[in-house]
Amino acid sequence: MSDMNESESGGALDVAFFTRWLTLAAAAVDREADRLTELDSAIGDADHGANLKRGFAAVRDVLEKEPPQTPGAVLVTAGRQLISTVGGASGPLYGTLLRRTGKGLGDSVTVSREQLAAALTEGVAAVGRLGGAHAGDKTMLDALGPAAGALGESFEAARDAAERGALATVPLQARKGRASYLGERSVGHQDPGATSSALLVAALAEAAA
Protein backbone atom coordinates (compact mmCIF):
# COMPACT_ATOMS: atom_id res chain seq x y z
CA MET A 1 0.00 0.00 0.00
CA SER A 2 1.10 3.55 -0.47
CA ASP A 3 0.36 6.91 -1.89
CA MET A 4 0.64 5.30 -5.25
CA ASN A 5 -2.23 2.91 -4.68
CA GLU A 6 -4.01 5.70 -2.94
CA SER A 7 -3.84 7.92 -5.98
CA GLU A 8 -4.38 4.97 -8.31
CA SER A 9 -7.63 4.12 -6.57
CA GLY A 10 -8.78 7.68 -7.07
CA GLY A 11 -12.53 7.48 -7.39
CA ALA A 12 -12.29 3.80 -8.12
CA LEU A 13 -13.23 1.81 -5.00
CA ASP A 14 -15.35 -0.92 -6.52
CA VAL A 15 -17.33 -3.95 -5.44
CA ALA A 16 -14.17 -6.02 -5.37
CA PHE A 17 -12.54 -3.54 -3.01
CA PHE A 18 -15.46 -3.56 -0.58
CA THR A 19 -15.71 -7.31 -0.72
CA ARG A 20 -11.98 -7.54 -0.04
CA TRP A 21 -12.40 -5.17 2.91
CA LEU A 22 -15.09 -7.27 4.53
CA THR A 23 -13.26 -10.49 3.81
CA LEU A 24 -10.13 -9.12 5.45
CA ALA A 25 -12.28 -7.86 8.32
CA ALA A 26 -13.73 -11.34 8.75
CA ALA A 27 -10.25 -12.82 8.83
CA ALA A 28 -9.07 -10.23 11.37
CA VAL A 29 -12.07 -10.90 13.58
CA ASP A 30 -11.44 -14.63 13.40
CA ARG A 31 -7.82 -14.13 14.32
CA GLU A 32 -8.52 -11.73 17.17
CA ALA A 33 -11.75 -13.23 18.49
CA ASP A 34 -10.19 -14.58 21.66
CA ARG A 35 -8.58 -11.25 22.43
CA LEU A 36 -11.88 -9.43 21.90
CA THR A 37 -13.67 -11.87 24.15
CA GLU A 38 -10.96 -11.51 26.75
CA LEU A 39 -11.34 -7.72 26.72
CA ASP A 40 -15.11 -8.14 26.96
CA SER A 41 -14.74 -10.49 29.88
CA ALA A 42 -12.88 -7.81 31.83
CA ILE A 43 -15.63 -5.19 31.55
CA GLY A 44 -18.51 -6.91 29.77
CA ASP A 45 -19.91 -10.37 29.28
CA ALA A 46 -17.19 -12.20 27.38
CA ASP A 47 -18.92 -12.60 24.05
CA HIS A 48 -17.71 -9.82 21.76
CA GLY A 49 -15.24 -12.03 19.89
CA ALA A 50 -17.74 -14.82 19.39
CA ASN A 51 -20.40 -12.33 18.33
CA LEU A 52 -18.34 -10.73 15.60
CA LYS A 53 -16.85 -14.02 14.45
CA ARG A 54 -20.36 -15.36 13.88
CA GLY A 55 -21.48 -12.16 12.19
CA PHE A 56 -18.56 -11.68 9.83
CA ALA A 57 -18.54 -15.33 8.88
CA ALA A 58 -22.15 -14.84 7.81
CA VAL A 59 -21.18 -11.68 5.93
CA ARG A 60 -18.45 -13.56 4.07
CA ASP A 61 -20.96 -16.28 3.22
CA VAL A 62 -23.63 -14.00 1.86
CA LEU A 63 -21.15 -11.96 -0.19
CA GLU A 64 -19.88 -15.17 -1.75
CA LYS A 65 -23.29 -16.67 -2.44
CA GLU A 66 -25.12 -13.55 -3.61
CA PRO A 67 -22.47 -11.03 -4.66
CA PRO A 68 -24.03 -7.53 -4.68
CA GLN A 69 -23.58 -5.28 -7.68
CA THR A 70 -22.52 -1.97 -6.12
CA PRO A 71 -20.27 -0.86 -3.25
CA GLY A 72 -23.34 0.52 -1.50
CA ALA A 73 -25.13 -2.80 -1.86
CA VAL A 74 -22.14 -4.67 -0.47
CA LEU A 75 -22.25 -2.62 2.71
CA VAL A 76 -26.03 -2.65 3.04
CA THR A 77 -26.09 -6.43 2.58
CA ALA A 78 -23.28 -6.87 5.08
CA GLY A 79 -25.02 -4.58 7.58
CA ARG A 80 -28.29 -6.49 7.26
CA GLN A 81 -26.43 -9.72 7.74
CA LEU A 82 -24.76 -8.45 10.90
CA ILE A 83 -28.14 -7.36 12.28
CA SER A 84 -29.57 -10.80 11.55
CA THR A 85 -26.75 -12.84 13.01
CA VAL A 86 -24.81 -10.97 15.68
CA GLY A 87 -27.31 -9.88 18.32
CA GLY A 88 -26.01 -8.11 21.40
CA ALA A 89 -25.22 -4.42 21.29
CA SER A 90 -22.62 -4.68 18.57
CA GLY A 91 -24.94 -6.38 16.04
CA PRO A 92 -27.39 -3.52 15.56
CA LEU A 93 -24.62 -0.94 15.95
CA TYR A 94 -22.18 -2.38 13.41
CA GLY A 95 -25.13 -3.38 11.24
CA THR A 96 -26.39 0.17 11.25
CA LEU A 97 -22.90 1.49 10.62
CA LEU A 98 -22.52 -0.53 7.44
CA ARG A 99 -26.10 -0.08 6.24
CA ARG A 100 -26.00 3.67 6.64
CA THR A 101 -22.56 3.95 5.13
CA GLY A 102 -23.74 1.79 2.25
CA LYS A 103 -26.85 3.88 1.71
CA GLY A 104 -24.66 6.99 1.71
CA LEU A 105 -22.74 5.53 -1.23
CA GLY A 106 -25.88 5.40 -3.35
CA ASP A 107 -25.95 3.34 -6.55
CA SER A 108 -22.52 4.23 -7.91
CA VAL A 109 -20.47 1.35 -9.28
CA THR A 110 -17.27 2.95 -8.00
CA VAL A 111 -16.76 5.50 -5.26
CA SER A 112 -13.85 7.63 -4.12
CA ARG A 113 -12.15 7.54 -0.75
CA GLU A 114 -13.62 10.98 -0.10
CA GLN A 115 -17.13 9.72 -0.83
CA LEU A 116 -16.54 6.79 1.47
CA ALA A 117 -15.29 9.12 4.18
CA ALA A 118 -18.44 11.20 3.93
CA ALA A 119 -20.70 8.16 3.95
CA LEU A 120 -18.81 6.66 6.88
CA THR A 121 -19.23 9.88 8.81
CA GLU A 122 -22.99 9.55 8.29
CA GLY A 123 -22.79 5.93 9.34
CA VAL A 124 -20.94 6.83 12.52
CA ALA A 125 -23.50 9.51 13.29
CA ALA A 126 -26.26 6.93 12.89
CA VAL A 127 -24.48 4.67 15.38
CA GLY A 128 -24.34 7.61 17.77
CA ARG A 129 -28.05 8.27 17.40
CA LEU A 130 -29.01 4.60 17.75
CA GLY A 131 -26.92 3.92 20.84
CA GLY A 132 -27.05 7.38 22.37
CA ALA A 133 -23.33 7.37 23.04
CA HIS A 134 -20.93 10.28 22.65
CA ALA A 135 -17.21 10.53 22.14
CA GLY A 136 -15.44 9.62 25.37
CA ASP A 137 -18.14 7.22 26.58
CA LYS A 138 -15.70 4.34 26.02
CA THR A 139 -17.43 2.69 23.08
CA MET A 140 -16.74 1.79 19.48
CA LEU A 141 -17.46 5.44 18.65
CA ASP A 142 -14.13 6.39 20.19
CA ALA A 143 -12.39 4.51 17.39
CA LEU A 144 -14.93 5.02 14.60
CA GLY A 145 -15.33 8.77 15.03
CA PRO A 146 -11.64 9.64 14.64
CA ALA A 147 -11.30 7.10 11.82
CA ALA A 148 -14.14 8.62 9.79
CA GLY A 149 -12.57 12.03 10.27
CA ALA A 150 -9.12 10.90 9.20
CA LEU A 151 -10.32 8.90 6.21
CA GLY A 152 -10.61 12.17 4.29
CA GLU A 153 -6.85 12.30 4.56
CA SER A 154 -5.83 8.69 3.83
CA PHE A 155 -6.60 5.07 4.62
CA GLU A 156 -3.52 4.87 6.83
CA ALA A 157 -4.49 7.97 8.72
CA ALA A 158 -7.89 6.40 9.36
CA ARG A 159 -6.28 3.18 10.54
CA ASP A 160 -3.93 5.02 12.87
CA ALA A 161 -6.70 7.22 14.22
CA ALA A 162 -8.85 4.19 14.98
CA GLU A 163 -5.97 2.45 16.69
CA ARG A 164 -5.18 5.52 18.77
CA GLY A 165 -8.85 5.96 19.58
CA ALA A 166 -9.11 2.38 20.80
CA LEU A 167 -6.02 2.74 22.97
CA ALA A 168 -7.37 5.99 24.35
CA THR A 169 -10.39 4.17 25.79
CA VAL A 170 -8.19 2.52 28.42
CA PRO A 171 -8.25 5.35 30.99
CA LEU A 172 -11.89 6.21 30.35
CA GLN A 173 -14.84 5.32 32.58
CA ALA A 174 -17.58 3.69 30.52
CA ARG A 175 -20.90 5.51 30.27
CA LYS A 176 -22.66 3.26 27.77
CA GLY A 177 -23.04 -0.47 27.29
CA ARG A 178 -22.40 -3.15 29.86
CA ALA A 179 -19.08 -1.70 30.96
CA SER A 180 -20.96 1.26 32.44
CA TYR A 181 -22.35 -1.08 35.13
CA LEU A 182 -18.87 -1.32 36.56
CA GLY A 183 -18.58 2.38 37.27
CA GLU A 184 -15.00 3.22 38.15
CA ARG A 185 -13.96 -0.40 37.81
CA SER A 186 -14.23 0.00 34.04
CA VAL A 187 -11.20 2.32 34.10
CA GLY A 188 -7.93 0.72 32.99
CA HIS A 189 -9.39 -1.63 30.39
CA GLN A 190 -9.55 -1.18 26.64
CA ASP A 191 -13.07 -1.19 25.23
CA PRO A 192 -13.73 -4.34 23.19
CA GLY A 193 -15.95 -2.55 20.67
CA ALA A 194 -13.39 0.19 20.08
CA THR A 195 -10.81 -2.53 19.62
CA SER A 196 -12.86 -4.38 17.02
CA SER A 197 -13.55 -1.07 15.28
CA ALA A 198 -9.83 -0.53 15.00
CA LEU A 199 -9.54 -3.99 13.44
CA LEU A 200 -12.23 -3.17 10.89
CA VAL A 201 -10.56 0.08 9.92
CA ALA A 202 -7.19 -1.66 9.72
CA ALA A 203 -8.80 -4.16 7.34
CA LEU A 204 -10.03 -1.25 5.25
CA ALA A 205 -6.51 0.12 5.00
CA GLU A 206 -5.23 -3.34 4.19
CA ALA A 207 -7.82 -3.71 1.42
CA ALA A 208 -6.58 -0.45 -0.02
CA ALA A 209 -2.92 -1.46 0.19
Binding site: T85, G87, A89, S90, G91, R175, K176, G183
Partner: protein
Protein backbone atom coordinates in the same frame (compact mmCIF):
# COMPACT_ATOMS: atom_id res chain seq x y z
CA UNK B 1 -18.89 -27.80 30.81
CA UNK B 2 -21.46 -30.33 29.70
CA UNK B 3 -21.44 -29.29 26.04
CA UNK B 4 -20.46 -30.49 22.61
CA UNK B 5 -18.86 -27.36 21.14
CA UNK B 6 -19.51 -23.75 22.15
CA UNK B 7 -21.04 -22.97 18.77
CA UNK B 8 -23.96 -25.40 19.14
CA UNK B 9 -24.85 -24.87 22.79
CA UNK B 10 -28.06 -22.96 22.13
CA UNK B 11 -29.23 -25.17 19.29
CA UNK B 12 -28.49 -28.28 21.36
CA UNK B 13 -30.49 -26.90 24.27
CA UNK B 14 -33.43 -26.13 22.02
CA UNK B 15 -33.38 -29.67 20.64
CA UNK B 16 -33.47 -30.88 24.23
CA UNK B 17 -36.32 -28.54 25.11
CA UNK B 18 -38.25 -29.78 22.10
CA UNK B 19 -37.77 -33.36 23.23
CA UNK B 20 -38.64 -32.66 26.86
CA UNK B 21 -41.65 -30.42 26.29
CA UNK B 22 -44.17 -31.71 23.80
CA UNK B 23 -46.49 -29.00 25.15
CA UNK B 24 -44.31 -26.36 23.45
CA UNK B 25 -43.46 -25.72 19.82
CA UNK B 26 -39.72 -25.30 19.58
CA UNK B 27 -38.42 -23.97 16.28
CA UNK B 28 -34.79 -24.95 16.63
CA UNK B 29 -33.70 -23.52 13.29
CA UNK B 30 -35.19 -20.07 13.86
CA UNK B 31 -34.73 -20.10 17.63
CA UNK B 32 -38.23 -19.43 18.75
CA UNK B 33 -40.09 -21.20 21.55
CA UNK B 34 -43.87 -20.99 21.23
CA UNK B 35 -47.01 -21.93 23.06
CA UNK B 36 -48.34 -24.88 21.19
CA UNK B 37 -51.81 -23.29 20.92
CA UNK B 38 -50.60 -19.89 19.65
CA UNK B 39 -52.11 -17.66 18.40
CA UNK B 40 -54.88 -17.67 21.00
CA UNK B 41 -57.90 -15.90 19.57
CA UNK B 42 -58.59 -12.48 21.04
CA UNK B 43 -55.64 -12.60 23.41
CA UNK B 44 -52.67 -10.27 23.59
CA UNK B 45 -49.44 -12.25 23.24
CA UNK B 46 -46.33 -11.66 25.33
CA UNK B 47 -43.01 -12.15 23.57
CA UNK B 48 -39.75 -12.00 25.43
CA UNK B 49 -36.20 -13.01 24.80
CA UNK B 50 -32.64 -12.29 25.61
CA UNK B 51 -29.30 -13.94 25.75
CA UNK B 52 -29.22 -17.62 26.70
CA UNK B 53 -27.63 -18.74 29.96
CA UNK B 54 -30.43 -17.46 32.22
CA UNK B 55 -32.61 -20.54 32.03
CA UNK B 56 -35.40 -21.20 32.84
CA UNK B 57 -35.82 -17.54 31.75
CA UNK B 58 -37.34 -17.10 29.11
CA UNK B 59 -38.14 -20.37 27.34
CA UNK B 60 -39.19 -22.03 30.58
CA UNK B 61 -41.85 -19.36 31.03
CA UNK B 62 -43.67 -20.04 27.78
CA UNK B 63 -47.16 -21.39 28.21
CA UNK B 64 -50.71 -20.51 29.21
CA UNK B 65 -50.74 -17.61 31.65
CA UNK B 66 -47.28 -16.32 30.87
CA UNK B 67 -45.31 -15.92 27.62
CA UNK B 68 -46.66 -16.74 24.17
CA UNK B 69 -43.12 -16.94 22.81
CA UNK B 70 -39.49 -16.63 23.78
CA UNK B 71 -36.48 -15.81 21.60
CA UNK B 72 -33.20 -17.15 22.94
CA UNK B 73 -30.03 -15.48 21.73
CA UNK B 74 -26.54 -16.86 21.94
CA UNK B 75 -25.17 -17.16 25.47
CA UNK B 76 -25.37 -13.71 27.09
CA UNK B 77 -26.05 -12.17 23.68
CA UNK B 78 -29.37 -10.63 22.85
CA UNK B 79 -31.35 -12.36 20.11
CA UNK B 80 -31.53 -10.86 16.63
CA UNK B 81 -34.59 -8.98 15.34
CA UNK B 82 -35.50 -11.76 12.90
CA UNK B 83 -36.37 -13.99 15.86
CA UNK B 84 -38.71 -11.51 17.49
CA UNK B 85 -40.40 -10.68 14.20
CA UNK B 86 -40.98 -14.35 13.51
CA UNK B 87 -42.26 -14.92 17.05
CA UNK B 88 -44.60 -11.94 16.89
CA UNK B 89 -46.04 -13.11 13.57
CA UNK B 90 -46.58 -16.61 14.96
CA UNK B 91 -48.38 -15.57 18.15
CA UNK B 92 -50.31 -12.46 17.14
CA UNK B 93 -54.04 -13.11 17.08
CA UNK B 94 -54.70 -9.57 15.94
CA UNK B 95 -54.92 -8.36 19.54
CA UNK B 96 -51.32 -7.21 19.51
CA UNK B 97 -48.02 -8.25 21.00
CA UNK B 98 -46.19 -7.02 24.10
CA UNK B 99 -42.41 -7.21 23.93
CA UNK B 100 -40.92 -7.73 27.40
CA UNK B 101 -37.36 -6.44 27.14
CA UNK B 102 -34.68 -6.46 29.78
CA UNK B 103 -32.82 -3.17 29.79
CA UNK B 104 -29.50 -3.98 28.15
CA UNK B 105 -28.22 -2.04 25.17
CA UNK B 106 -28.23 -5.15 23.00
CA UNK B 107 -31.72 -6.26 23.92
CA UNK B 108 -33.12 -2.78 23.61
CA UNK B 109 -31.63 -2.20 20.15
CA UNK B 110 -32.57 -5.58 18.74
CA UNK B 111 -36.14 -5.45 20.06
CA UNK B 112 -36.47 -1.88 18.74
CA UNK B 113 -35.50 -3.02 15.28
CA UNK B 114 -37.85 -5.99 15.57
CA UNK B 115 -40.73 -3.74 16.62
CA UNK B 116 -40.23 -1.56 13.55
CA UNK B 117 -40.14 -4.57 11.26
CA UNK B 118 -43.14 -6.25 12.90
CA UNK B 119 -45.17 -3.06 12.70
CA UNK B 120 -44.30 -2.92 9.03
CA UNK B 121 -45.97 -6.32 8.79
CA UNK B 122 -49.09 -4.89 10.42
CA UNK B 123 -48.59 -6.29 13.90
CA UNK B 124 -49.38 -3.95 16.77
CA UNK B 125 -46.42 -3.91 19.11
CA UNK B 126 -46.02 -2.44 22.58
CA UNK B 127 -42.80 -2.71 24.55
CA UNK B 128 -42.08 -2.73 28.26
CA UNK B 129 -38.51 -2.30 29.48
CA UNK B 130 -37.60 -4.14 32.67
CA UNK B 131 -35.01 -2.28 34.74
CA UNK B 132 -35.05 -3.36 38.35
CA UNK B 133 -31.43 -3.76 39.42
CA UNK B 134 -30.61 -1.16 42.05
CA UNK B 135 -26.89 -1.98 41.86
CA UNK B 136 -26.73 0.23 38.78
CA UNK B 137 -27.49 3.90 39.14
CA UNK B 138 -30.02 4.93 36.57
CA UNK B 139 -28.29 8.00 35.18
CA UNK B 140 -26.75 9.57 32.13
CA UNK B 141 -23.50 7.91 33.13
CA UNK B 142 -24.70 4.35 32.76
CA UNK B 143 -26.77 2.29 30.36
CA UNK B 144 -29.47 2.49 33.03
CA UNK B 145 -30.61 -0.08 35.55
CA UNK B 146 -30.40 -3.67 34.33
CA UNK B 147 -33.36 -5.99 33.97
CA UNK B 148 -33.04 -9.02 36.24
CA UNK B 149 -35.45 -10.81 38.60
CA UNK B 150 -38.39 -8.48 38.01
CA UNK B 151 -38.63 -9.97 34.52
CA UNK B 152 -40.28 -13.00 36.09
CA UNK B 153 -42.82 -10.83 37.89
CA UNK B 154 -43.59 -8.82 34.76
CA UNK B 155 -43.94 -11.90 32.56
CA UNK B 156 -46.11 -13.77 35.06
CA UNK B 157 -48.41 -10.92 35.98
CA UNK B 158 -48.80 -9.31 32.55
CA UNK B 159 -49.11 -12.81 31.12
CA UNK B 160 -52.04 -13.48 33.44
CA UNK B 161 -53.68 -10.23 32.38
CA UNK B 162 -53.29 -11.20 28.74
CA UNK B 163 -54.71 -14.64 29.45
CA UNK B 164 -57.76 -12.99 31.04
CA UNK B 165 -58.34 -11.08 27.82
CA UNK B 166 -57.10 -7.61 28.76
CA UNK B 167 -56.39 -5.41 25.73
CA UNK B 168 -52.84 -4.49 24.72
CA UNK B 169 -52.69 -1.10 26.38
CA UNK B 170 -53.96 -2.58 29.63
CA UNK B 171 -51.47 -5.47 29.55
CA UNK B 172 -48.72 -2.98 28.79
CA UNK B 173 -49.79 -0.72 31.65
CA UNK B 174 -49.80 -3.61 34.12
CA UNK B 175 -46.39 -4.76 32.93
CA UNK B 176 -45.06 -1.24 33.36
CA UNK B 177 -46.61 -0.96 36.80
CA UNK B 178 -45.07 -4.24 37.95
CA UNK B 179 -41.69 -3.12 36.71
CA UNK B 180 -41.97 0.27 38.40
CA UNK B 181 -42.85 -1.40 41.69
CA UNK B 182 -40.00 -3.94 41.52
CA UNK B 183 -36.35 -3.73 42.53
CA UNK B 184 -33.52 -6.30 42.73
CA UNK B 185 -30.04 -6.74 44.10
CA UNK B 186 -27.65 -9.59 43.34
CA UNK B 187 -24.54 -11.11 44.86
CA UNK B 188 -21.98 -13.49 43.39
CA UNK B 189 -19.97 -16.05 45.33
CA UNK B 190 -18.25 -17.21 42.16
CA UNK B 191 -17.96 -16.10 38.55
CA UNK B 192 -19.59 -18.15 35.82
CA UNK B 193 -18.06 -20.01 32.90
CA UNK B 194 -19.31 -19.15 29.43
CA UNK B 195 -18.89 -21.70 26.65
CA UNK B 196 -17.22 -19.07 24.45
CA UNK B 197 -14.61 -18.18 27.06
CA UNK B 198 -14.23 -21.66 28.55
CA UNK B 199 -13.12 -20.27 31.91
CA UNK B 200 -14.51 -18.03 34.65
CA UNK B 201 -15.59 -14.62 33.37
CA UNK B 202 -13.80 -12.94 36.22
CA UNK B 203 -11.46 -13.89 38.99
CA UNK B 204 -13.12 -14.23 42.37
CA UNK B 205 -10.93 -15.90 44.98
CA UNK B 206 -12.77 -18.14 47.44
CA UNK B 207 -13.43 -16.18 50.59
CA UNK B 208 -14.54 -13.10 48.70
CA UNK B 209 -17.80 -12.08 47.11
CA UNK B 210 -19.03 -9.52 44.60
CA UNK B 211 -21.90 -7.25 45.57
CA UNK B 212 -24.19 -5.76 42.97
CA UNK B 213 -23.64 -8.20 40.14
CA UNK B 214 -25.74 -8.60 37.05
CA UNK B 215 -26.69 -11.82 35.31
CA UNK B 216 -24.06 -11.80 32.57
CA UNK B 217 -20.95 -12.86 34.39
CA UNK B 218 -19.78 -9.27 34.67
CA UNK B 219 -18.13 -8.37 37.97
CA UNK B 220 -20.20 -6.34 40.45
CA UNK B 221 -19.73 -2.90 41.89
CA UNK B 222 -17.74 -3.93 44.91
CA UNK B 223 -15.73 -6.84 46.25
CA UNK B 224 -15.79 -7.83 49.91
CA UNK B 225 -14.56 -10.57 52.18
CA UNK B 226 -17.11 -13.37 52.45
CA UNK B 227 -20.24 -12.51 54.42
CA UNK B 228 -22.71 -14.82 56.14
CA UNK B 229 -26.07 -15.56 54.61
CA UNK B 230 -27.64 -13.26 57.21
CA UNK B 231 -25.27 -10.39 56.43
CA UNK B 232 -25.88 -10.77 52.70
CA UNK B 233 -29.63 -10.71 53.30
CA UNK B 234 -29.27 -7.53 55.34
CA UNK B 235 -27.21 -5.90 52.62
CA UNK B 236 -29.34 -6.99 49.66
CA UNK B 237 -32.73 -6.30 51.20
CA UNK B 238 -31.64 -2.91 52.46
CA UNK B 239 -30.25 -2.02 49.04
CA UNK B 240 -33.63 -2.86 47.52
CA UNK B 241 -35.69 -1.12 50.19
CA UNK B 242 -33.64 2.05 49.94
CA UNK B 243 -34.97 2.42 46.43
CA UNK B 244 -38.40 0.83 46.73
CA UNK B 245 -39.84 1.88 50.11
CA UNK B 246 -42.97 -0.28 49.84
CA UNK B 247 -45.94 0.82 51.89
CA UNK B 248 -47.62 -2.58 51.85
CA UNK B 249 -46.98 -6.28 51.32
CA UNK B 250 -44.50 -7.44 48.69
CA UNK B 251 -43.92 -10.35 46.36
CA UNK B 252 -40.46 -11.73 47.10
CA UNK B 253 -38.28 -13.65 44.67
CA UNK B 254 -35.23 -15.23 46.26
CA UNK B 255 -33.37 -16.32 43.20
CA UNK B 256 -30.36 -18.56 42.76
CA UNK B 257 -27.77 -17.62 40.14
CA UNK B 258 -27.34 -21.24 39.06
CA UNK B 259 -24.83 -23.06 41.21
CA UNK B 260 -26.06 -22.20 44.67
CA UNK B 261 -27.72 -25.28 46.16
CA UNK B 262 -31.42 -25.03 46.91
CA UNK B 263 -30.51 -25.96 50.49
CA UNK B 264 -28.50 -22.75 50.81
CA UNK B 265 -31.09 -20.74 48.93
CA UNK B 266 -33.83 -21.73 51.36
CA UNK B 267 -31.54 -20.82 54.24
CA UNK B 268 -30.95 -17.45 52.59
CA UNK B 269 -34.67 -17.00 52.16
CA UNK B 270 -35.12 -17.46 55.91
CA UNK B 271 -32.71 -14.55 56.41
CA UNK B 272 -34.45 -12.39 53.80
CA UNK B 273 -37.72 -13.08 55.55
CA UNK B 274 -36.11 -12.10 58.86
CA UNK B 275 -34.80 -8.78 57.52
CA UNK B 276 -38.13 -7.94 55.92
CA UNK B 277 -39.91 -8.68 59.19
CA UNK B 278 -37.45 -6.46 61.04
CA UNK B 279 -38.07 -3.68 58.51
CA UNK B 280 -41.83 -4.07 58.87
CA UNK B 281 -42.40 -5.27 55.31
CA UNK B 282 -44.94 -8.11 55.07
CA UNK B 283 -44.34 -10.79 52.42
CA UNK B 284 -47.54 -11.66 50.57
CA UNK B 285 -46.00 -14.33 48.33
CA UNK B 286 -42.52 -15.79 48.07
CA UNK B 287 -40.80 -17.76 45.34
CA UNK B 288 -37.47 -19.46 46.04
CA UNK B 289 -35.43 -21.14 43.35
CA UNK B 290 -33.21 -20.83 40.30
CA UNK B 291 -35.29 -18.75 37.92
CA UNK B 292 -33.13 -15.98 36.47
CA UNK B 293 -29.70 -17.53 36.40
CA UNK B 294 -26.25 -16.76 35.17
CA UNK B 295 -25.05 -20.15 33.96
CA UNK B 296 -23.06 -21.79 36.78
CA UNK B 297 -22.56 -18.70 38.89
CA UNK B 298 -22.86 -19.23 42.64
CA UNK B 299 -24.84 -16.49 44.29
CA UNK B 300 -28.30 -15.12 44.67
CA UNK B 301 -30.51 -12.14 44.13
CA UNK B 302 -33.48 -10.67 45.92
CA UNK B 303 -36.33 -9.07 44.00
CA UNK B 304 -39.21 -7.36 45.74
CA UNK B 305 -42.38 -6.10 44.09
CA UNK B 306 -44.75 -3.87 45.98
CA UNK B 307 -47.99 -5.71 45.49
CA UNK B 308 -51.52 -4.41 45.16
CA UNK B 309 -54.76 -6.33 44.91
CA UNK B 310 -54.64 -6.70 41.16
CA UNK B 311 -51.01 -7.76 41.18
CA UNK B 312 -51.73 -10.42 43.79
CA UNK B 313 -54.75 -11.70 41.92
CA UNK B 314 -52.78 -11.96 38.67
CA UNK B 315 -49.83 -13.54 40.47
CA UNK B 316 -52.12 -16.21 41.86
CA UNK B 317 -53.80 -16.82 38.50
CA UNK B 318 -53.10 -20.19 36.85
CA UNK B 319 -49.86 -20.61 34.97
CA UNK B 320 -48.70 -23.66 33.01
CA UNK B 321 -45.12 -23.42 31.87
CA UNK B 322 -42.10 -25.72 32.25
CA UNK B 323 -40.70 -23.68 35.14
CA UNK B 324 -43.73 -22.10 36.80
CA UNK B 325 -46.91 -24.01 37.27
CA UNK B 326 -49.84 -23.53 39.54
CA UNK B 327 -53.57 -23.15 39.66
CA UNK B 328 -56.31 -24.54 37.40
Amino acid sequence: MLINVPETVVADALRGMAAAHPELTVDVEHRVVLRRDAPVAGRVALVSGGGSGHEPLHGGFVGPGMLAAACPGEVFTSPVPDQMVRAAAAVDSGAGVLFVVKNYTGDVLNFEMAAELAEDEGIQIATVLVNDDVAVTDSLYTAGRRGTGATLFVEKIAGAAAEEGAPLERVEAIARRVNERSRSFGVALSACTTPAKGGPTFDLPPGELELGIGIHGEPGRERRPMMTSGEIADFAVDAVLEDLRPSGPVLALVNGMGATPLLELYGFHAEVQRVLTERGVPVARALVGNYVTSLDMAGCSVTLCEADEEILRLWDAPVQTPALRWGR
